[in-house]
Subunit: 69 residues, 2 copies
């Protein structure tokens, strides 16, 4: 893990959970004074989400509560 | 990202958010037929959490909603 903040800017628009391949939640700590939410999209792009955006929690809930295959 | 499931077993006991350095949420996909939640602890240990454990969502909420430093 890097020893600095990862996100230069955050994205606030809604992203559908079906395009999300991976989510990283990084609490604030010595390496960075703010929490960061980094999403890997299906096409491999990395996007930082705004932790204040309400839909972020909705997407995370959807990923965790989705029925297994 | 690996092309297989990452978790051999999951941990169901409560972990305090203050010991959590990093959380990865990996939705099910072609690489693995189940969602996985991988936590990095402050001491560097990796633990897979049970997505069905209710406290998992509480911890994630706490990380996302915590006030910035």
């Amino acid at each position: 893990q890097e020893l600095r903040c990862q996100c230069i800017q955050t994205y606030s628009d809604f992203i559908s959970p079906e395009f999300i391949k991976h989510v990283q939640l990084i609490p604030e700590g010595a390496h960075c004074g703010r929490k960061e939410i980094i999403v890997t999209l299906e096409d491999g792009k990395l996007i930082c989400l705004d932790p204040e955006a309400e839909w972020v929690m909705i997407i995370i809930k959807k990923i965790i509560n989705s029925a297994p295959n």
